[in-house]
Symmetry: C3
Subunit: 272 residues, 3 copies
């Protein structure tokens, strides 16, 4: 059921992140800045948070990936994201977008769509409602109304990925990764991850680090999600609630070896 | 000494929060955003942080309660708080205010008073100095100078609650909750809570969640404080310092059952 | 090898911080606000975070030290830092600067230099690249290119400290503290400190608290770094990765007694 080659690539990507320590430039929300930075350090990457319009272009030029997250956005921050993103595009630095809360307010949906329109974004990660709210056409709309999980989102996601020309990751009990042609499912993870704020944002940042070392966005995304999900499984063994779970999650990200990831990754190729 | 009916209501409110998972909209300070979100998740509520003036009205319309906290305020944020608060008032969504540092600088005191003047606020929670700094009349002034604890603040608080037409919660070793007619005291808590930043802000957010399910502000506030205080007691059993205490506090909030809260709540009706 | 008098002063400074509970005013970055506040509470100081231009002058007037940190700066925040700093200078309240990322972007380097030019700063703490990027002359430039550790930075640091008329702390495996005349080395610390975000910023804030009780900046800085480093050593005994390390670090800061610090501090006077 699970693909051995992708599991091996997961381990290899982790090893490569630890060896090359890519700088990951985050323009992200206030809630998760600290835990995102700690997660990136724990996996072996090098995080930087910088949002001032006067420095983002210079900062992103040093980075291996750019993470854009609209969780506590304001319009000034979106301007900085556009500016950093354009420079990233010029330099072919991969961009990943986390459209937190897109669909909940019109400002968030419009901001996410503006980023997608003005930038070339390699991966978008969110939950079903967030991702499917990004459709300009009706592709996602029907999906949004009916989405309860990955299965319901599957068709709409494929159509939307083709429309946007990007890779989409819809995370949930099982994660779906698709570029509209290939679909992968990641079965790693634990339900306690939902009880800690910012785990979705952390997943996005880890995908950013993997994009810095793997040019195939579908594969980079699925292997990153398998890694984060495996850490979530290991953390659950030590947790006594969401406080200790959050602590154990960072420890697990730090301790998982490439070999353990290859053994533990549960990535499934979708039958056509 | 402790009121059984209120203890049972504490358990019932907790059960109701976990069942209905109210969305709690926070416009709060940078220091506590992460721990506030985690605490709200741990109790079973659904947190959102959003401060942009362009979206707060739309966001608060989805919420069961609005939490305003001036801990790292700037004037733009106050404008967003006013905007969100007016919409909340129109929709009868309860507002709770945490006037962090009111009394310390004139900008903070003036901002807190402006929020109180322009909005209808259901509950204000702070320490003695913060709460009593809010008096336009001399009601609180004398209090501020002499406050060392809840006892000294008692009379001034009752007078101020009547003046402001709201419920006040002054938290300390024993918490005082009053609307100027009724007074309740909450005896739960632990001294280690003071060694972790943002525990006051967390208390405020939990009161917000309880206001979403209990229309009586005095009762909602006292039951929420009993719950948080009981978690503080349980956390102390596992802590080896403020770092592990913070972790154990989240775990305890998550694990306390409605039945345990009913058994452990120590809420006292003030003799007239 | 290690200086006994300085070790005793470390213990005495810690005792004095816990007795006088100095208010430490931080204008710092979003990533570390929470952990900085918690560290200051854990050591016995009283933290406040406030950045609005309308209140920083009033707030700093209440403080025993002012901590400026440019980690997620924007130009408005620099203006607030200047404003707070000028008031601090008038009142002879010590200022410590953490030039996070100086050298990485021209905005950061220029902002750090502006703060140094317009304010009288008692201590600057950073890593080798950050500190040496501050040279207006060529003093640091050569250093930046070649810095791998404290040893390489030593000569450039002394020259730069004289040029800037301040005390510099370059932290790493061994910390170097110099005002251009005296040099101290602090041998406390643990490599896991690098795996947690904001440990440098926390070191800066703790130095701030020590500056509030010790008028000798070289000594205050070295004793604060010995304390933080000792906590880092003790935390390592309990950690299973960076998550649990961060927790144990706060616990250790809280639990270390002045006597333990005197026994554990490893501060070395530099031979001339």
């Amino acid at each position: 059921m699970f693909d051995r080659e992708l599991a091996e690539k997961a381990g290899a990507n982790l090893e490569q992140v630890r060896r090359s320590r890519p700088l990951v430039h985050n323009i992200t929300n206030f809630v998760v800045m600290n835990c995102t930075a700690n997660a990136l350090l724990a996996i072996g990457a090098s995080p930087v948070m910088a949002h001032a319009k006067d420095e983002v272009e210079e900062m992103v030029a040093l980075a291996g990936a750019l993470v854009l997250n609209i969780g506590t956005l304001s319009l000034e921050w979106i301007d900085s994201m556009i500016r950093a993103g354009k420079r990233a595009n010029e330099m072919e630095i991969p961009i990943i977008l986390d459209p937190v809360g897109s669909g909940a307010t019109s400002m968030r949906t419009a901001s996410a769509k503006r980023l997608i329109r003005e930038l070339s974004i390699r991966v978008i990660r969110g939950n079903g409602s967030e991702v499917l709210s990004l459709a300009e056409s009706g592709a996602g709309t029907k999906g949004v109304d009916s989405v309860h999980g990955v299965d319901e989102a599957k068709e709409a996601a494929g159509e939307l990925a083709r429309e946007l020309g990007t890779t989409l990751a819809i995370t949930g009990a099982v994660d779906l990764v698709t570029d509209g042609r290939r679909q992968l499912r990641v079965h790693n993870g634990h339900e306690l991850m939902q009880s800690v704020t910012g785990t979705g944002c952390t997943a996005t940042a880890i995908i950013g680090a993997f994009l810095a070392v793997d040019k195939d966005p579908v594969r980079a995304t699925a292997t990153a999600l398998a890694y984060f999900g495996l850490a979530g499984e290991k953390a659950a063994e030590k947790a006594d609630g969401p406080g200790s779970y959050q602590v154990a999650l960072l420890d697990a990200l730090y301790k998982i070896t490439p070999g353990q990831l290859t053994e533990g990754a549960r990535i499934q190729k979708e039958p056509d």
